[in-house]
């Protein structure tokens, strides 16, 4: 039951993009086509789960025993940057097909604030290892849900006749606002 709550809360109620404002750059940047949105969502899911697991272990078995939790930001970002490189190298060797699909998105992920954000949030919320993993998966799902929905809308939007100064980013933000408003309807499901 606890896990169900974490999932519903992260995917719908506290959606990472639309209510927490993390990962806006890829949300606006790679949402022109549904295909690329799927690729990005896949890559984020992959890295987010691994990164959250590794940073959890790091926080509880290295930083806290040594009494240096203030080094969190420095260590987490380095670990994530190294991890992304590692995942890229391993994927290239083990599964060329998956690498082809996710490849171009992986380097972008280092500066995607969802990864570091979720890692820090999982630590702040005092989750245990399994809860952290569930939290990471459901946040990645929430990110994917928002990104893919948004890219579907934007594909249709290309056909719409809108004022010149609204074209591109401004209209994208307004659509995102409407989408966020729709997601506000989920508020109150989970306390």
């Amino acid at each position: 039951m606890e896990y169900v709550l974490i999932i519903i809360s992260a995917v719908f109620v506290n959606n990472i993009v639309l209510t927490q404002f993390l990962g806006i750059c890829p949300f606006i940047g790679v949402s022109n086509k549904v295909d690329t949105a799927f690729g990005m969502a896949g890559a984020v899911t992959f890295v987010m789960v691994i990164a959250t697991m590794v940073t959890y272990i790091l926080q509880h078995y290295v930083l806290l025993p040594l009494g240096i939790p203030f080094m969190q930001t420095v260590t987490f970002i380095l670990v994530i940057a190294a991890l992304v490189q590692l995942v890229e190298i391993i994927l290239k060797k083990v599964s060329p097909a998956l690498y082809q699909a996710l490849g171009i998105f992986l380097p972008l992920i280092t500066t995607n604030c969802t990864i570091l954000g979720v890692a820090i949030l999982a630590v702040q919320k005092d989750f245990n290892l399994i809860e952290s993993v569930v939290f990471a998966i459901s946040n990645a799902l929430g990110f994917g849900l928002a990104l893919i929905t948004f890219s579907g809308i934007r594909e249709q939007l290309d056909l719409a006749d809108i004022p010149k100064s609204m074209k591109g980013v401004p209209i994208a933000f307004i659509i995102a606002g409407l989408l966020a408003m729709a997601f506000m309807g989920f508020a109150g499901i989970v306390k």
Partner: protein, 203 residues
């Protein structure tokens, strides 16, 4: 003259938020009021100026291959400094029990480290230019970012609760939606639209 240009370009011509669309997460996430926007903007300015300064000092001795990780470590160190300073000095709750600035900015303070503006300026400017112009560039870009955040925060605060920096000048409740998440997206969308319209007129 060129020094002045390095400093001033961040405000309008190359404004990180309205023109380059960098650092959008804190832009949306921390602008529920003008004060929060300004606080976030100044914290980012500090990190940006200091990391630009240090990176331009050490750029010539860092091997090209480990450039990005080294920059990230330098930036992360300054973010940690800001985080510790803010938790020490801006952590007192308001008179009516409202959360402190540190609590309101919350996770966005450590996330300055992944703000694309900081790494972007390090890579595009500080690693290639002299120490003084890098410092000016960092300050200008940071203040431009702070300006954008304060502007967006003020717009949202005026519409949402009829006040600026906490001074209430419109009676009543205001449009609450502008303080909540959808309002952030809508307000920024319309601000960028106005900016575009203004630029078209000038050209």
């Amino acid at each position: 003259m060129s020094n002045l240009k390095n400093f001033a370009k961040g405000f309008v011509k190359e404004n990180p938020v309205f023109v380059l669309f960098l650092g959008l997460c804190p832009t949306l996430g921390t602008t529920s009021s003008a004060l929060n926007g300004l606080g976030m903007g100044l914290a980012t300015t500090f990190v940006l100026a200091m990391s630009n300064l240090v990176i331009s000092l050490v750029a010539s001795v860092i091997p090209d291959k480990v450039r990005i990780p080294s920059f990230i470590v330098i930036i992360a160190s300054f973010v940690t400094i800001v985080d510790l300073l803010m938790s020490a000095y801006t952590n007192t709750p308001g008179p009516n029990g409202e959360p402190s600035l540190y609590d309101q900015l919350g996770i966005f303070i450590p996330l300055i480290v992944v703000n694309c503006i900081v790494l972007g300026r390090a890579e595009a400017f500080a690693s290639k230019n002299s120490v003084f112009s890098s410092l000016l560039d960092g300050l200008g870009m940071g203040l431009g970012f702070a300006f954008a955040l304060t502007l967006l925060g003020s717009v949202r605060e005026i519409l949402g609760s009829g006040s600026v920096f906490g001074f209430k000048f419109i009676q009543g409740d205001g449009i609450l939606m502008f303080v909540s998440p959808p309002g952030a997206f809508l307000a920024l969308g319309f601000l960028i639209m106005l900016m575009n319209k203004w630029k078209q007129k000038i050209v």
